[in-house]
Symmetry: C2
Subunit: 269 residues, 2 copies
């Protein structure tokens, strides 16, 4: 199998995301190798040797997506037998031409603690945890958004992703059978209706997910799942709460859709 | 202020990561606008108009980082007044030349639920939550890694990031004063020593973080923080547990360092 390397002097997250996006366009399987924190000549030389060895043992040139602040390190990797792509150099040339400003090389520039908004994100994670699954209904004034849906409709991973990636304070509240029977929004939510976003899910998928946690329970039965989903969707419609069916979407997609539909501002850069 | 657009027919996460990595090299502030799920000609035309309006009102050409599967949509954005960079087209050309295989365009290819490993990641998030903060010490056999450290040393956000980004099952266990006084590993951890990774932190930073939660408490006092950090580091050394001082690192950096030092395999692609 062909090997793809993602290399950088920082976390190599950008190399991974970019390289993966490129390779996912091709119907070919790869052996993925991420190598972060390549910060010395010595380490870069070792990686060059590893790339060369991989080329020999596999009989195929590895694909190498890399970015370094220090050009000495770039040159070492470029001298390897891989197909090397210093993917930020071209885009930074375009930006430089347009802005007429030279780039200021700085190690760990993209994923470091020094971003102005870093503390927001950690605060948001703590908020999401403290307000997960209706654990705390007294702190909704601080919420940027309150995700509402039946048990196991994807609220918790979405809250955490919104917090970690975007610095969004997302509480989440599970609609129980009792709540649904009343047919109205629970009291703790009425004052915050403008912050509510609904998640729903296909009853079949919901039943399968619940089955894994409580096999053969009433909770997991398709009948129960159908009732709850129908009732929660009616509630969303009646109260004009925006909502999304999460069944076919990843946490990244659900989160991106929520950000886009609610115009929430990213606290990311 | 100059505007940067990140546009795609999917989540636009790749556009954001790539565009941000490029722009963070320049000492210039930007107004960042992410526009995901641009899937129709109609929507693409509206975005083109928005780019053109932004160019007029700000008096400066916006920078536009974009990627589309459908070339019709790409062409609409390329016809705008922005400085447009279709950043995946060049890298896919390189890969195509090397692999001698044509790309297979597919919408939502990179961040969708259809990745083979998607369920791993959701399982891992559920595992991290169920095993957060020593909540459950009976499930460590399933852990890929167990983060150990004093209260507020960064274990929880790191566990969640490892789960969401890499599909790693990370439990975390807080070393209490009682645990530390004994000077030995807690019983529940001894059988899993090979899975333990330590987190430590500068006492001054720890005290500041604890101060925010419990102002003027013994728990937050610099004296108490110094004692706990010294004792936990001694314990790590005595038991040859690999550990990392988290003070100056972001969650991304801590996670990338842990992945690299422990050779844990990403369940990501």
């Amino acid at each position: 199998m062909r090997t793809a390397f993602y290399i950088s002097d920082g976390t190599a997250i950008t190399s991974e995301v970019f390289g993966h996006a490129t390779l996912s366009m091709f119907p070919v399987d790869f052996n993925h190798k991420t190598i972060p924190f390549v910060e010395t000549v010595d380490k870069a030389e070792k990686i060059k040797d590893l790339i060369n060895e991989t080329a020999v043992t596999s009989g195929e040139k590895p694909l190498v997506f890399f970015t370094f602040v220090n050009p000495v390190l770039s040159d070492i990797i470029l001298a390897s037998d891989g197909v090397c792509y210093d993917f930020l150099s071209y885009s930074s040339e375009i930006v430089k031409r347009e802005l007429k400003v030279a780039p200021v090389p700085k190690v760990h520039r993209t994923h470091s603690i020094h971003e102005a908004t870093y503390d927001f994100r950690i605060d948001a994670v703590n908020y999401a945890l403290a307000n997960d699954d209706g654990a705390n209904v007294k702190d909704y004034e601080k919420a940027d958004i309150i995700l509402v849906g039946v048990s196991r409709s994807g609220k918790t991973p979405t809250s955490l992703y919104l917090a970690l990636q975007y610095g969004i304070k997302a509480a989440n509240y599970p609609m129980t059978e009792d709540d649904l029977e009343k047919g109205t929004l629970p009291k703790c939510l009425t004052a915050f209706k403008h912050k509510i976003f609904g998640l729903t899910i296909d009853p079949e998928r919901l039943s399968a997910i619940r089955q894994e946690r409580m096999a053969n329970s009433r909770y997991a039965s398709i009948r129960q799942c159908r009732i709850e989903v129908r009732e929660v969707e009616m509630l969303f419609k009646k109260n004009r709460i925006p909502y999304l069916n999460s069944t076919k979407f990843s946490v990244e997609e659900i989160s991106a859709k929520i950000m886009s539909e609610t115009n929430l501002e990213r606290r990311k850069y």
